[in-house]
Symmetry: C2
Subunit: 335 residues, 2 copies
DNA sequence: TTTCTGCCTGAGAGCGCTTTCTCGGCGGGC
DNA sequence: GCCCGCCGAGAAAGCGCTCTCAGGCAGAAA
């Protein structure tokens, strides 16, 4: 920087002003400095800059799965799951115009203190927290440490923190309405894990809407949001209730597995049994028949998380803010 | 840090030594300092540390796809592709024990200068470069800038840079051998894009091995490594050559699509037509029948890239090093 | 006891940048 | 024509840490 200053015949302070676009620099001088920067091939040192600005221009995407052991297969599942992929894509896209980069940090509960330490050290300016598990202490911890954060779902216990979510119950209701509209009457569902809100909310939403329409006691089995799990659940469900004609599966990945099991068991989809998924991930298009599903705009939601986070970083005192997206029904072939 | 020093009754230098695990500190003093650190809740400032050590303790995973426009669908494809997911998982797992974090940076050619600037600013200590495209200038640029980097494949033009690759031709040969061994004689292949080495090498390897076994002129169509592309290619291939009985598809994702097309066209797999994929990604298990494929140990390869990179960072002068992994045949149901 | 050898610790000089404070110079108003 | 005010640039003080260098103290050797 000194070299640039000397080459341009100005002080270091002026070079700094030019680099940071301060308006109070004479146009001629600005140009001279810029030429000097180009000539010398000068590149600012970010560490020195962060030291004084206390900004790192990067944020962490923390994927917290408290009860999964941190091992190769955990990493593999996380990075191969289309849901996390969509989140990453949405966040990256929203952050890039602001020249902010993403550090991706998967973590389990034994690992939380590492993550906390990392975040407190100032590596990042804020956190996008993907935490679905009800009992996950991370959201509260971050909040108490005053680390700017936006959570990917409504926190289980009330917390004055910003979050972005989709209206889970509405999504389940849309699925129920659609199945009912097709004439299905013997409905069932494969839910997500019930200890995570998106799992239990979709189940509740589905059941309580149907109860209101005079259909109580809808059979349900608890799945795990994996393809394989969906296959297994469908098999169990059809064995216990061979006559069901409409199935709501709480994720597309599970629906893909379920579809396979259903067809293996000799049912035609949608004629014998109509199936509705949830997410509208790429998995919905990998199914045969193509999956009718409840669309969750994951990329947009992640982008919104990023926007809210940047606002928090820019104005640390600002009040928490929550945004709820509306799910929509996407009709394809399976229902 | 001054507070800690005062609380412990030592100098800042000693606190620094304790934090960095210098061996030359008296055990009693070390303990006092550690207690003081705990009491004051002191957390080191990484920016200040990097400023002097010139280390950031993070590395970039740059995913370079020169001819894809940088847009939402590009991001989506990258982050949803199981191959990149496996790379990320492998690298993350290898880096974590060393407390090094990953910054993921997808980029197209219009964006290269941003990435270069980012890397030069010292945000990261090194680069894991996923670059398959033959004409990609990024590997050479990084090399010329002296930024420590490890490339995910043998560079198209000779470059004194470290890389990790799988023996592509051997993989193709294993597929050919297996198909031949099953009794297939009318073989064909769906290749990857021919302007990327992994695409052309697999095709060459397949054809030249078969040519050596007296089977010249094996039909091939050029795919694009997507599920949909595979479906389309298979359809074209079977239309032009209805009698083929063995098919090598250069990626599992494409094979999944191809399998679907083949079955739609009324062929039984593997009885009428045997299919071998490449990768052994999760897609291989999503197929029906389960996909016989050539396993590429992507996670291990990414981990190796990380190890080599860390070695380069630790000893900047060290000579480039290349590691080639052996692919293996995984027999399932499709061939 | 004295001197020498080592091992620890403390003092202090940066690392490269931002930012406040200050001052010089120029233009406009009276 | 003089003074005031404002704009633009420079000087210098850190930001929080590491690390070299030198000094002090203890133990061993003479």
């Amino acid at each position: 920087m000194d070299q640039v200053a000397e080459a341009a015949g100005v002080s270091r302070a002026t070079v700094s002003r030019v680099i940071n676009g301060a308006p109070s620099v004479d146009a001629k001088i600005r140009e001279i400095v810029q030429r000097a920067i180009a000539d010398t091939g000068y590149v600012p040192n970010v560490a020195a800059r962060s030291l004084v600005t206390r900004k790192s221009n990067s944020v962490a995407l923390v994927i917290s799965e408290p009860d999964r052991p941190y091992d190769t297969s955990f990493l593999n599942r996380v990075f191969t799951d289309p849901y996390f992929g969509r989140v990453t894509a949405g966040a990256t896209g929203a952050l890039r115009p602001h020249d902010i980069h993403l550090v991706i940090i998967p973590t389990d509960s034994t690992d939380h203190h590492h993550v906390i330490r990392y975040l407190r050290q100032g590596h990042v300016d804020g956190v996008l927290l993907i935490s679905s598990h009800e009992a996950d202490p991370l959201p509260r911890q971050l909040h108490e440490l005053g680390i700017p954060a936006v959570i990917s779902a409504r926190p289980a216990s009330p917390l004055a923190a910003s979050f972005v979510d989709v209206d889970q119950r509405l999504g389940a209701r849309l699925a129920a309405e659609h199945l009912l509209g097709r004439g299905c009457r013997r409905l069932a569902t494969i839910s997500g894990p019930l200890d995570i809100p998106s799992g239990s909310d979709r189940l509740d939403g589905f059941r309580s809407y149907l109860a209101g329409r005079g259909i109580p006691d809808v059979p349900a089995v608890e799945g795990d949001f994996t393809r394989h799990g969906g296959e297994e659940c469908a098999r169990r469900l059809l064995t216990a209730h061979p006559d069901i004609d409409g199935l709501f599966v709480a994720s597309d990945l599970m629906a893909e597995g379920a579809l396979r099991a259903v067809q293996d068991l000799g049912r035609r989809v949608p004629d014998d049994l109509a199936v509705v998924g949830f997410d509208d991930s790429s998995a919905a298009l990998d199914c045969r028949p193509l999956l009718t599903t409840i669309r969750q705009p994951v990329e947009e939601m992640a982008a919104e998380m990023a926007e809210v986070l940047m606002a928090h970083i820019a104005a640390p005192g600002r009040l928490p803010r929550s945004v709820t997206f509306q799910p929509t029904l996407v009709v394809r072939e399976s229902a």
